[in-house]
């Protein structure tokens, strides 16, 4: 079973040389720490920056330099700054190659719910609806089951949707799965020490298991 860092490490392997990548808040933010050094990747922050670098050293924080999670950050050489309209313009125009974000639920046809729980205070969707509606390549980083022990990989989402037919891949503490265009979660890899049976038990939606499922390397 993977911890949060493990999920981030495994997702980092999906990032290819030359990619522009948008990382959501939570586990996706951790992915930045594991991008292989031998590839060239530019991180986009939707509040208006390409070329996001690591957190600043203490004393070097700049209130005019934050990421979409409102954390203080730095810029790498070659960075570019732009306004919010252009930022979502490049997202809509599919210039950003990969979007990694968290989710509360994903359905077997790739619908995602990650912004609202009825009866609880709603904070807003931020940029999530724009990202999932436009990105061609969306990876969800999340726990396989919720705190109540219920599967988050469902036949249909029960929570209000953020977007439809958009999630392509899911990495959880238990497994890596593709969401097939025709519907269904195709099991690709098992987390270390996790059996196919355990993954089946934790997956409420249609799980497709073909042949031997390899254990992932992280």
């Amino acid at each position: 079973m993977l911890d949060k860092e493990g999920i981030a490490k495994r997702i980092a392997k999906e990032i290819k040389d030359g990619y522009y990548v948008n990382l959501g808040i939570g586990i996706p933010t951790l992915v930045a720490n594991y991008i292989p050094e031998n590839i060239d990747v530019v991180l986009q922050s939707e509040n208006g920056l390409l070329g996001m670098g690591p957190f600043p050293y203490e004393g070097e924080e700049d209130p005019d330099l934050i990421n979409a999670g409102k954390q203080t950050i730095t810029m790498l050489p070659g960075s570019a700054i732009f306004d919010s309209a252009m930022s979502f313009g490049m997202i809509r125009a599919k210039k950003v190659n990969l979007t990694i974000l968290g989710a509360m639920e994903v359905s077997e046809n790739g619908d995602i719910a990650n912004w609202k729980i009825p009866g609880k205070m709603v904070k807003g969707m931020g940029g999530a609806m724009d990202l999932v509606a436009s990105a061609e390549n969306i990876i969800v980083a999340m726990q396989h089951v919720n705190k109540a022990g219920e599967s988050k990989l469902l036949p249909q989402c029960t929570l209000p949707l953020t977007g439809i037919n958009c999630v392509k891949k899911i990495v959880t503490e238990l497994a890596v799965l593709d969401v097939l265009p025709e519907g269904g979660f195709k099991l690709l890899e098992r987390a270390p020490g996790v059996s196919v049976e355990e993954i089946k038990k934790a997956t409420a939606g249609k799980l497709i298991v073909e042949g031997e499922i390899p254990e992932m390397t992280v």
Partner: protein, 232 residues
């Protein structure tokens, strides 16, 4: 063409109860602090505020919420704000949550003189309810209307007396798009200079969009999430 006003109070003197305001900034970054303080002092009420966020309890639009000056917020993310939550639950405050890109692009449309935009954001969700959907090249898009705001209030790093603006870092965010979108645009800047001092090649907002400008003093520029790394 000198657009300089004496300060925030003069810049917002004709903002009246019930008006619609755009307020720039993302989180605490690039907030028009001086104009917000002047609006709080003036006490105008029943405002509709278009702003990505709603401030925190003691800073940004949170200060206007505390005085119950805001009737409606149009935002993408309202974050951590206890007073905001209280007013929302008691029904004192109306909130319209819209996708962040839709918010930015509805500002942009106003500044570019376009009545509406089409975006895929919100298709298949509750955001799409009651909105016109058009299909282009096999994909559905929502029609979203340009904003119509009485005032846009933005914060820039530098500006000249003709209203040309330069922003710094990610505080450009919504400021640059909202600056283009108000019937009247007010810009507060950290440094106000004479025409010719800013390089025309590096102007972010041309002065034609800006009606009033002033230099604010002693910017607080708060940080919402201070994150640092250790020196090795």
């Amino acid at each position: 063409m000198n657009k300089t006003v004496s300060g925030a109070e003069e810049a917002i003197h004709d903002i009246k109860d019930g008006m619609t305001l755009m307020l720039g900034g993302f989180g605490m970054s690039g907030l028009p602090e001086k104009c917000i303080a002047a609006l709080v002092k003036k006490g105008v009420k029943n405002l509709t505020c278009i702003s990505n966020n709603a401030g925190v309890d003691d800073f940004g639009i949170g200060l206007m919420l505390k005085q119950r000056q805001v009737k409606k917020m149009i935002s993408s993310y309202v974050g951590e704000n206890a007073e905001f939550e209280r007013q929302l639950l008691t029904g004192e405050l109306e909130v319209e949550l819209i996708p962040q890109g839709t918010l930015a692009t509805r500002c942009m449309a106003a500044g570019y003189g376009m009545p509406a935009i089409f975006t895929p954001a919100g298709i298949g969700t509750e955001v799409a309810i009651g909105k016109e959907i058009r299909n282009f090249n096999g994909k559905d898009y929502l029609m979203e209307l340009a904003f119509d705001a009485d005032f846009a209030i933005v914060k820039a790093w530098k500006g000249d007396t003709m209203g040309n603006l330069v922003f710094r870092g990610t505080s450009r965010n919504f400021n640059a798009v909202m600056a283009m979108a108000g019937k009247i645009t007010v810009a507060e800047v950290e440094e106000l200079v004479e025409p010719g001092e800013l390089d025309p090649n590096f102007i972010h907002t041309p002065g034609i969009y800006v009606h009033r400008i002033f230099q604010g003093e002693n910017y607080e520029k708060r940080i919402e999430q201070r994150t640092v790394r250790k020196r090795t």
